[in-house]
Symmetry: C2
Subunit: 333 residues, 2 copies
């Protein structure tokens, strides 16, 4: 049986925000699996800030997507045909299918997931890469201790919301930074943050200073730019800053703004450390089991912002950079 | 017996480089020691980049020097009169006498030093704060491993020269960055650095890239500014950057330049960490003994740039910021 595939390929390297003309929409028959491969019907695709980096040329932690290649993306779906032991039609799987409706993938690159334990989109959020990023970034690099003050930016995003909830589970005071009063209300009322500050309204530095009278012990940075600088000015002695992303800077056409207050690291003998979630792959299973437990106990919530239609991809992706998404941004194929 | 004291006091908080009018030169009789105190004839004073920070108002790791106060400075000298058990006239001591010829100090703030083991100025260099800063910053935060590439800026300065020599002792490849061909020659020929780059001549980024074909594993930063940014662009995976100082930025009258390449920390899962030497006070003794051993074995050299005359203080201090000093800058009273 042949399936007609639909795909978004990278047509040009974007300057600033990705434009419609940076993509090429193609249709072609899905390739039948060979030995060791599986054909997957993709159901949900993960849209992530990191995708912007993969579109650029140059050395990074992962090779750039080539011009003409299907855009890289994580996703979940169901097996349609299998030529690999251990995979049968109907199995739910997680992998990196790219922005397309069908994907022929090596079985060794797929992880079977349990659709009964949680809805499939949760495997793109708390039980997927954003959850792993939050878990290892906060716990391994941030090392939060009970009673400490943890600040997270992009707090209503996929990584940020999980960071804040895990910090609460660990007994910390948690302050979220997000855009808009609706997101801030959600963080406090639904997720149990101690406070949330709307960076689009009022004086963020003043608000943060009031919310953190003893300074910031752990700052989980998803945004970079001015917010990183404000947090640097307010860190406590021996603070830990996790550099997870810098969404405010990804579409810059001018030079990136470096953190002018970085000498606060010296005065406070603090550290600022980068992290890439792939380094923790051998511990994903453990983390997922612990987080599934917290979800079962209702201590950890997974919120997805699901947009329908593969064809909406170019515009849906932009929601990440305008701050429009509310929870993990997911494309339903 | 009364001694006429001479002193430099802070008259005004400098804007940019300290000017002559930022100081007040005073003369007054030295105060006789009371119980628990010692009167010291100051012989050598330590002039350090950190002094510039102490002249500013505002929160830091140590209180600012007050207007009218004798300028804070470390120094060594000999006891003249003692009202404290354990200290006798003629004892050599290290302490923080400030910029003056005589100082009446609490015995508990003084450390006796052995003038036979090393000349007194060495206690302001390798066996003093710069040596301790180099030792703990490099070994505790940098954690260099044999075969790794260590880069140090301000390499001909008091801290930098010791950092490079300790890194060589630990089996690393060591590249120094310094200003001028004479300093660079000294680093390679006298101190055994593998290479030294003159930041005032040629293309530093190109030179550093060639000198570090596998990237930089440890960067010990004394200068900040553009050199920090160049090093960030060249770090290896899991690199460690020690933020010890930022002499290029201390006299800025405009905003400090943040490191625009800080996202290299993310890509390389690297860390950047600040340090303040005082935190290691309980291990100074151990470090001094180990470094004295290396000096005896001729593996570690201490070079001082000694300028005579307390009255030269205002202009001698400026040598630090013009990069004129060659080795630890010391004022001979």
């Amino acid at each position: 049986m042949t399936y007609e595939n639909r795909q978004y390929r990278l047509a040009a390297r974007p300057v600033g925000l990705p434009k419609a003309t940076d993509w090429e929409f193609t249709k072609e028959p899905a390739r039948a699996p060979e030995d060791g491969e599986v054909l997957v019907a993709v159901e949900y695709l993960s849209l992530d800030p990191a995708m912007r980096g993969w579109m650029n040329e140059g050395k990074s932690y992962i090779a750039p997507v080539k011009i003409g290649e299907v855009m890289r993306a994580g996703g979940v779906g169901k097996v349609l045909e299998s030529k690999a032991p251990g995979f049968s039609p109907g199995d739910a799987v997680y992998g990196s299918p790219g922005i397309q409706a069908f994907a022929t993938l090596k079985a060794k690159d797929l992880t079977k997931i349990d659709a009964k334990l949680a809805p499939l989109p949760v495997y793109l959020n708390v039980l997927g890469m954003p959850g792993m990023t939050a878990y290892f970034g906060l716990l391994d690099i941030g090392e939060p201790k009970p009673g400490e003050t943890v600040v997270v930016s992009g707090a209503a995003g996929a990584v940020g919301a999980t960071v804040g909830q895990i910090a609460k589970i660990k007994g910390c005071r948690v302050i979220g930074i997000a855009g808009g009063s609706e997101k801030c209300r959600f963080l406090v009322e639904e997720l149990g943050f101690d406070a949330a500050l709307d960076y689009k309204a009022g004086d963020l530095k003043k608000g943060l200073k009031e919310a953190c009278p003893n300074g910031i012990d752990v700052y989980f940075d998803n945004v970079g730019g001015d917010i990183l600088d404000i947090c640097l000015a307010l860190i406590a002695p021996r603070a830990r800053i996790i550099i997870c992303g810098a969404i405010s800077q990804y579409n810059n056409t001018t030079a990136i703004k470096g953190p002018a207050n970085y000498l606060s690291l010296l005065v406070n003998r603090a550290k600022m450390q980068g992290m890439v979630v792939f380094d923790y792959a051998d511990r994903y299973g453990l983390a997922a089991r612990e987080m599934a437990g917290w979800m079962a106990e209702k201590k950890l919530k997974s919120r997805e912002d699901i947009v329908e239609g593969l064809e909406t991809f170019p515009e849906t992706l932009l929601k990440l950079f305008s701050g429009e998404n509310f929870g993990k941004l997911v494309l339903k194929v």
